[in-house]
Amino acid sequence: MLTEKTIQELTAAYRSGETTPTAVAEAYLARIAKLDREVGAYLMVTGEQALEAAAGAAARYRAGAPRSALDGVPVALKDILCTRGVPTTCGSKILESFVPPYDATVVERLRAAGAVLLGKTNMDEFAMGSSTEHSAFKLTRNPWDPARVPGGSSGGSAAAVAGGLAAGALGTDTGGSVRQPAAFCGVVGLKPTYGRVSRYGLVAFGSSLDHIGPLARDVTDAALLLRAIAGADPRDATCLTAPVPDYAAALAQGVRGLRLGLPDEYFIEGMDPEVERAVRTAVDVLRGLGATVERVSLPATPHALATYYVIAPAEASSNLARYDGVKYGLRVAGARDLIEMSSRTRAAGFGAEVKRRIMLGTYVLSAGYYEAYYGRAQRVRTLVRRDFDAAFGRVDLIVAPMTPNVAFKHGEKEDPLSMYLNDVFAVPADMTGLPAISVPCGFSVQGLPIGLQFIGKALDEAGVLRAAYAYEQATPWRARRPSLA
């Protein structure tokens, strides 16, 4: 089936003439029309534009001149990435009517590479959440079990890739939002080093923590997507200028001699024993492939999540101040003055979780509490970073579970704090900016996917990809697909 092919298989089939970008785009659009009512991965499908892009790619293959390793490949975009002329809502009522006048850098680069953009995917409002249940618009279901969440906040992108509704996708990761849904949906999710990918045109949540990264069916596809979007961008001053290597070309080097660190603090009380067993078995596989594994300690880990829930809301409260009803988005009518207009617009436009984080962020930054909360959290952030610096003196990569549990049921985590705790193994890589990947490492007895995480040194995307690839190639997990109607 065309919609089961990996990116690498697709482009090979285009080159050989076995199929065409148009046939594949049509197959994806037909599958979305048939199945996405059930999955709910997309907020908007841009079928006409997709077919137009596919026709362009088809002509290039006919002429023997494809533009890149992504030419003619159908890709979905999380609805937090600005797309020129196509609504970008961030899953929020406050941006329901917003049509960006420009493309995000990553969108511009995908278009330039010839990718066929299928549409915009559902997400937790402003990327705040771990289940995609905080979308103002719709529910997204996990393709492995419709009663369960796909994870979040990039839940629509993960569900689209897992459900065969896109060949690959982009998501964003501020506190695990690419890797956690990848783990829950049984796909590969990569969060690059902070600054490796330009944030221009990514609607801001926590500016020191926001990362864009790919979700894909396998590690090779993730490598191909990353290469297309990474690299210097003068429009993002925090974007790194280091050259972008050919990640896919370096995948097959294996893990022989690689030193892996297994952190004690990532095996905690209350975690699902099936997850722990799958991860420890995966570590044995890596050892069997020639990697050395040693225990390491990252002692600040138990405090990392609390640190995150000070810093991210603080940055969010500042970033989201722009939604005041003046320049774009919702405005509530009938206010007597400017402050009333903003306060009522924000009350009507933001959902409960976004309001909670704005309140929390405003509180921890307010006079009298700044040093006690924000100042202290920034210092603990330094401790988290020092832990990794020390560990990387001894090992090349950290290997760990991605989440403490498998996908939970819709409505199961009503209490905000219990939802937050789900990100406990994800946030350290965001706070340190280190590259990290989640790769499928098995299934629970109930048939739900489990994710294995690798965390590398700054700019060592090649390292985490290479380890994930070696593991993936040695195990059968990627052959399993969810059965949708």
Binding site: P101, L338, Y363
Partner: protein, 95 residues
Amino acid sequence: MISREDVVHVARLARLELSDTEMERMREQLNGILGYIDKLKELDVSGVEPTSHAVPLVNVTREDAVVPPFAQDAMLANAPDRVGEFFRVPRIIED
């Protein structure tokens, strides 16, 4: 502990109009979350420098060149209310 008055004050700073029910729920939930965050107080951070950014970067500059800006119409296209080339908002200054 966050009091009702704290919630009212922070909501005003954040420009969020909250109903009475929302205020009460917010107070309870923020107290729950801040109770968890209080575990940061267990750590000794004296002498530890704060980290504000994952990657240390200073003074990123670019060529001081003129580039074409976005067209004014494109920038105004999303305005909830506008008059000519201006964003229109409720009156701020008294007569």
